[in-house]
């Protein structure tokens, strides 16, 4: 175990006749830090780690920041030592950034502290932590870890990270993911226990750490680690293959996205498109509904990220169990059988039309398709399409550029599966949402633990509905995708393919395994 430490200046004050010399020393320290940062950035870029290299570009920018320099100069002229001054000025900006109510920007506070710490360390001639001197492979435990800290660790010496601060989007997480090192971040006060331990076992998959584990736990962790390493090595080969069954049928393997920010990650897992882009994230936990513009940006960002690869945007599907700002939702006894999905959308054009307009406009930037949830009859599909075409006509009338958008139906109710033939005539594609299809077909609440036995898409009734859906689609010459959890289930994938499913969409980390299963089917 290794404990990172924070730089602390030894000398707070300087004498009046030292001011000019200290300012010059500060200038040289900044130059030295910039040089090191730029070098690290180039090294990362040379090995193709563009995202990580970008972090160091941003740090160069911060180290050279004119306002940082002028803040330090002012303090040095007031006889503060430059090392104390740069830490103080850095902390001022960091505190200001941390107060911003925006996760990504708040996380940049750590970058500012990191850079200021490096300049201070350069000035005092000490490294902020002895990480580069790490000689035995260790778990690194620290309050926080900056990119420059993680980059300084000799290759192979970090076995895992445990930090009190940080989140999924902080750099330590990004770096750990790209280095393939397990990390548990944001443990808060629990860090205390890890700091006092001699051995720490880290499970990055499930996000927990065990301090001073007993023999049995150590053995269990070692076993998990081996299994994971073997599985990963085999699966990695499948990430970017075009999956085909042994008899040559091409099966597209795509990702389900819950927000626009997950796009890049999904591509790295080998997603060949997005089979389900949930749009709820734009609408939840906020004071007012998202504007058409905000939706346009979010859909456009994913469209751009995927380029020619298809991205299926599912229109809003929120039930009475979740609050929507500005929409009058009476409480319901059975929200899953309630006013949700296309039912709510058709009743509230003020909510639906901005979403449709945003999708049409964003389609210019890529290959967007739209999919309607909870459809139980062809009339709903027609009404939704009519609204979509109305939006298209108005946008064109306004002189706004719109893209072509194929329209599909989510098959997630028994009614939709049973009426698949009628729906197929007016759809460009189907996507089977297994989670709801299972719950509605088997009358089994998907959240009820006692009904686990009835929560499988492998139930004969569900499989029959899937078969019927695929046959109707085949008849009409349209593809059938699948986007429920079952789509990534290695045991069910061969059955789904046999029934006629042509695209599987799942949580991105499941993609390599699904491609492997397809290739062996």
């Amino acid at each position: 175990m290794h404990t990172g430490s924070e730089p602390e200046p030894e000398r707070e004050r300087i004498a009046e006749d030292e001011v000019e010399a200290e300012l010059a020393r500060f200038g040289r320290a900044v130059e030295a830090v910039v040089g090191k940062l730029a070098q690290t950035g180039e090294r990362l870029r040379a090995v193709g780690s563009e995202t990580e290299a970008g972090i160091f570009d941003a740090h160069v920018e911060l180290a050279e920041d004119p306002e940082l320099a002028s803040g330090v100069e002012e303090r040095v002229r007031n006889l503060q030592s430059p090392e104390a001054a740069v830490l103080a000025v850095g902390e001022e900006y960091a505190a200001e950034l941390a107060a911003v109510e925006e996760e990504y920007l708040a996380a940049r506070a750590d970058d500012v502290r990191d850079v200021a710490g490096q300049v201070a360390a350069e000035l005092t001639g000490r490294g902020p932590a002895a990480l580069e001197a790490l000689e035995t492979p260790s778990v690194v435990v620290a309050r926080s870890l900056a990119p420059s800290d993680t980059a300084r660790i000799p290759k192979g010496m970090a076995l895992g990270f445990v930090t009190a601060e940080g989140s999924r989007t902080s750099h330590v997480s990004i770096m750990a993911r790209s280095m393939g090192i397990p990390a548990v971040v944001g443990v808060g006060p629990a860090l205390e226990g890890a700091l006092n331990a001699t051995t720490v076992a880290v499970n990055g998959t499930e996000g927990y750490a065990v301090t001073d584990p007993d023999e049995a736990t150590v053995a269990e962790f070692e076993r998990m680690s081996r299994t994971l390493a073997e599985a990963r090595a085999t699966l990695d080969e499948y990430r970017h293959v075009e999956a085909r069954t042994r008899d040559g049928r091409r099966i597209e393997v795509a990702a389900n996205l819950g927000s626009a920010s997950e796009a890049e990650d999904a591509l790295q897992w080998g997603a060949e498109g997005v089979g389900l882009f949930r749009t709820e994230f734009l609408f939840m936990e906020r004071e007012e509904l998202p504007s058409e513009e905000e939706q346009y940006e979010a859909y456009g960002a994913v469209a751009r990220a995927f380029g020619e690869k298809p991205v299926i945007v599912r229109t809003l599907d929120v039930g009475g169990d979740k609050d929507l700002p500005g929409v009058d939702q009476p409480p319901e006894e059975n929200p899953f059988l309630g006013w949700r999905g296309i039912r709510m959308s058709l009743d509230t054009p003020g909510l639906f039309e901005p979403q449709l307009r945003a999708i049409l406009r964003a389609a210019v930037h890529g290959n967007l398709k739209v999919m309607f949830p909870m459809v139980v009859e062809v009339g709903e599909l027609r009404a939704a399409k009519e609204l979509l075409e109305g939006c298209r006509a108005r946008l064109e009338g306004e002189g706004t550029e719109v893209g072509p958008v194929e329209v599909g139906v989510m098959i997630e109710t028994p009614a939709a599966a049973i009426c698949a033939a009628e729906l197929a005539k007016e759809s460009a594609f189907f996507s089977i949402g297994t989670n709801d299809l299972v719950q509605y077909t088997l009358a089994a609440d998907r959240g009820n633990e006692r009904l686990r036995r009835l929560q499988s898409a492998g139930h004969p009734a569900v499989l029959k509905l899937i078969r019927q859906t695929c046959e109707a689609a085949h008849e009409a010459g349209i593809p059938t995708g699948m986007c429920g959890e079952a789509a990534g289930d290695p045991e069910l994938i061969p059955q789904f393919i046999a029934l006629g499913v042509t695209e599987l969409s799942m949580g991105a980390p499941a993609i390599p395994r699904a491609k492997k299963v397809v290739s062996e089917t």
């Binding site: 941003a58 920018e61 940082l68 925006e102 920007l105």
Partner: protein, 86 residues
């Protein structure tokens, strides 16, 4: 002195990557450039200042420049932060 207003277009506002791009562009010009959001003012060549300005999508900013290439600087920065025309 040259001054112009612009509405912030990029999805993330003037944060992180857009901020870096903005600062990089500003540094190409020799003029002194400031960004005003309401009563707050930021040095356009400082990513610390630009990030802490907290400009979000839809905010209206004023860009003011003074110097030899003031007009070019303001034009370039306004174009950078305005929403896509297409």
């Amino acid at each position: 002195m040259v001054e112009s207003q612009a509405t912030v277009g990029p999805q993330e506002g003037l944060h992180a990557r857009p901020a870096a791009q903005f600062v990089k562009t500003a540094k190409r010009f020799s003029s002194e450039i400031v960004v005003l959001k309401g009563e707050r003012q930021a040095n356009a060549k400082s990513s610390l200042k630009i990030m802490t300005l907290g400009a979000r999508k839809g905010d209206t900013l004023t860009i003011r420049a003074e110097g030899d290439d003031a007009q070019e600087a303001v034009d370039a920065l306004v174009e950078l932060i305005s929403p896509d025309e297409h």
